[in-house]
């Protein structure tokens, strides 16, 4: 059973490693293999629509590419939907939940906003409105908290409406045939450490299955060992033509980063028993848009996803 045959793929990782770009590219790669995909962001400054040269349109899914829809989930509209579903009457909702005090109160019920946001997404998974749902999860610690909300509610909240909602959501999340967590990392110390910790927490704390590691901005080896010996800055008595010096300095930096990329790939492979996809740095003239997302998706497919 391949990664893209799951119903729900969650993209997790440290802040700044490229979770959104990986989520967008993964969604696009899945769409290119014929799936209908929904890619979701949770209560954040929306990034995904921009990665398809599109803009946010309201609180419901909207198309951003052939086969790909985007959804930005926010607490207030999600809460409203949930309450309406439970209470069934719009007028009752208005009378009760648009009351200022009540709405403030609802925000303070621990985990309720997270539950309704996650619930909105998982509802689409359960009802199979799309073949595949991709969640761009919040960064590491917040992400673990977010995905752990159903279990936390089951552990603490007495049986009732919140409890039964949490139950089906937890069961969906911990079923590796339906749901997997993909990790995004960078070939740098801190992100790699965090990836290793995150992998542990995903399995032991959340009880969820892991899919792949995407090692983003991987720098491939480009120069031979003999060539690399040419590059280091010259001694005081040597001189290099300025252009050659610039080229050698750039190449020296490239070689060091390639070495580091290989080192951290090995550390991830040793530390995690997971397939790893190395993704190249995508160069762009101004901002990362649809063309770059396509390039990244192509790289994913080339690397066997």
């Amino acid at each position: 059973m391949s990664l893209l045959d799951r119903r729900l793929l969650i993209t997790a990782g440290k802040g700044g490693v490229g979770r959104s770009t990986v989520s967008a590219a993964l969604a696009l790669a899945a769409a290119q293999s014929g799936k209908r995909v929904l890619v979701c962001e949770v209560n954040t400054q929306p990034r995904i629509p921009g990665l398809f040269d599109s803009q946010v349109q309201g609180d419901e899914p909207f198309p951003v590419a052939p086969g790909v829809d985007s959804l930005v989930v926010r607490p207030d509209p999600a809460m409203r939907e949930y309450v309406l579903m439970k209470l069934r009457f719009e007028t009752l909702y208005r009378a009760v939940f648009e009351n200022r005090w009540v709405s403030r109160f609802l925000h303070f019920i621990p985990s309720l906003p997270e539950l309704v946001m996650l619930g909105k997404i998982l509802f689409h998974v359960r009802e199979r409105h799309w073949d595949l749902v991709v969640i761009d999860a919040p960064a590491t610690g917040h992400g673990i908290t977010f995905l752990g909300v159903p279990q936390a509610i089951l552990d603490t909240v007495p049986p009732g409406a919140m409890h039964s909602e949490a139950l089906w959501m937890r069961d969906l999340l911990v079923d590796p045939d339906r749901t997997l967590v993909n990790l995004v990392s960078l070939p740098e110390e801190l992100p790699v450490n965090e990836t290793l910790e995150l992998a542990g927490a995903t399995e032991s704390q959340l009880g969820m299955g892991l899919g792949r590691v995407f090692l983003n901005r991987f720098v491939p080896e480009r120069f031979s060992a003999d060539e690399r010996r040419l590059f280091p800055p010259p001694g005081a008595d040597e001189e290099r033509a300025p252009l050659l010096d610039a080229a050698f300095r750039a190449a020296h930096a490239q070689a060091l980063r390639a070495e580091r990329s290989a080192h951290f790939r090995e550390r991830l492979q040793r530390g995690l028993d997971l397939p790893l996809t190395a993704l190249p740095q995508i160069f762009h003239p101004a901002s990362f848009g649809a063309a770059q997302t396509r390039e990244l998706a192509a790289a994913m497919i080339r690397e066997g996803l």
Binding site: G16, W101, R104, F108, P158, G160, A161, L190, L243
Partner: protein, 410 residues
């Protein structure tokens, strides 16, 4: 108001406090920022996650220690090797001095003292409660599962307790300078917003209105439906279950006594931040999204009248060509000694130069835009390192990039 008497320690002659400078620093160069490092008592490093706040905080602390000050760097979650470099292996919430020999081994003479402490957020909350809540209420509170939410999951609680710890250290007056590395936040705003969120949570008018009769009665076991017979409460209980609401009401009753304490501390922290004892350093990288957020955060800080010492742009791609235009492959091939090596080398070198130039160009565009939007705050740029920052020697090198040509004052 916050110009507390300063002890003379380390570098002499800088103790005298000048008349209060304006809240917005008008520094346009690193010398002004260095002055802040030498004179202020609190520096707060803020910025988006993953930009290198911890590294910058440690760099500033090391530099100030080298200058002769007794410095504490208060960090949240340092990289392992950096933590090791600071001697922070297994310390939770206890302060420890970085061995001066370690600093000397990095080629730096520590005229002052460098101390470090890793903040354990859960323990800081427990300590805070222990200090401010009477014994008889404390146990019930610590056991309540909503307390755990307050201390770990409630948005803003990490930020709040970090500033609380900072304030406590500052009040103890053991250090000349405290550098705070703030927790990674999803949004820059979270850090400034934290006290307000906590106070909102505690004040909770909604709770008073919905649950006033129950709180007044002060008894356990009151059925929710008895809570003033409120139809609003009934509707809510259909979503959450009755017992959840009851427990939450009880939690609110236990913790309501702390409201005044929180309010008082939050006001003091705010006054400290806006005073001439403190300054903020805004840490960013050169990526467009982060730069947007940094511009936004800079504006918020100004609105709060919080002094900003500098914007530190971290991990900036270097311009290897130094303004020259790209060579052609033939030019590079001619420069490489004829006949030596692989004929494709020139092409690969050119590709590498092109990639580097493209990154450097993009960074410069974003940082120039940032500089224009954050004028007149100084912008200090730190180049991207090709290896990880591991040790005190690396921190010292970063310091040299921050303050080029500025040797530590003797």
């Amino acid at each position: 108001m916050s110009a507390r008497p300063r002890r003379s320690r380390g570098a002499g002659g800088r103790e005298a406090q000048a008349p209060s400078p304006p809240p917005v620093l008008t520094s346009t160069n690193s010398a002004e920022t260095l002055k802040v490092l030498r004179e202020r008592q609190v520096i707060v490093c803020v910025g988006a996650g993953g930009v290198g706040k911890t590294t910058v905080a440690a760099t500033l602390a090391l530099r100030a220690a080298a200058e002769g000050r007794k410095v504490m760097v208060l960090t949240i979650d340092p990289a392992k090797r950096l933590a090791n470099a600071l001697g922070l292996k297994e310390l939770g919430n206890t302060q420890s001095r970085v061995d001066p020999e370690r600093i000397r081994a990095a080629g730096v003479e520590p005229r002052g003292e460098l101390w470090a402490m890793m903040l354990d957020l859960q323990r800081s909350w427990d300590d805070f409660i222990a200090r401010h809540i009477p014994q008889e209420q404390r146990e019930k509170l610590l056991e309540n599962r909503f307390y755990k939410t307050l201390s770990t999951a409630l948005a803003g609680s990490q930020e709040y307790i970090a500033t609380e710890k900072l304030y406590e250290l500052h009040a103890r007056d053991e250090f000349d300078l405290i550098v705070l590395d703030t927790p990674p936040t999803a949004h820059a705003l979270d850090f400034l917003d934290a006290p307000k969120r906590i106070l909102d949570f505690l004040e909770n008018d909604s709770m008073r209105i919905l649950a006033a009769p129950a709180l007044a009665a002060g008894k356990l076991g009151i059925k929710l439906m008895g809570l003033g017979g409120s139809w609003a409460a009934k509707a809510i209980s259909r979503l959450t279950g009755t017992e959840t609401l009851e427990e939450l009401f009880l939690f609110m009753r236990e913790i309501q006594g702390t409201y005044e304490v929180f309010k008082d501390r939050a006001a003091k922290v705010k006054a400290l931040f806006a005073s001439d004892a403190a300054a903020f350093v805004l840490v960013t990288n050169a990526q467009g999204v982060t730069v947007d957020e940094t511009i936004y955060f800079h504006r918020l800080l100004l609105e709060e009248r919080i002094p900003i010492a500098a914007v530190v742009a971290n991990r900036v791609h270097r311009d290897f060509l130094r303004g020259r235009s790209l060579p052609t492959e033939a030019e590079l091939a001619a420069l490489l000694e004829a006949g030596s090596g692989d004929p494709t080398l020139a092409g690969r070198l050119l590709l590498t130069l092109e990639e580097a130039a493209s990154m450097a160009h993009l960074d410069r565009r974003h940082l120039d835009r940032l500089a224009a939007a954050t004028e007149p705050t100084a912008q200090l740029r730190v180049p991207r390192f090709d290896t990880d920052v591991h040790d005190l020697a690396d921190l010292w090198i970063i310091g040299r990039h921050l303050f080029p040509g500025e040797e530590p004052a003797s």
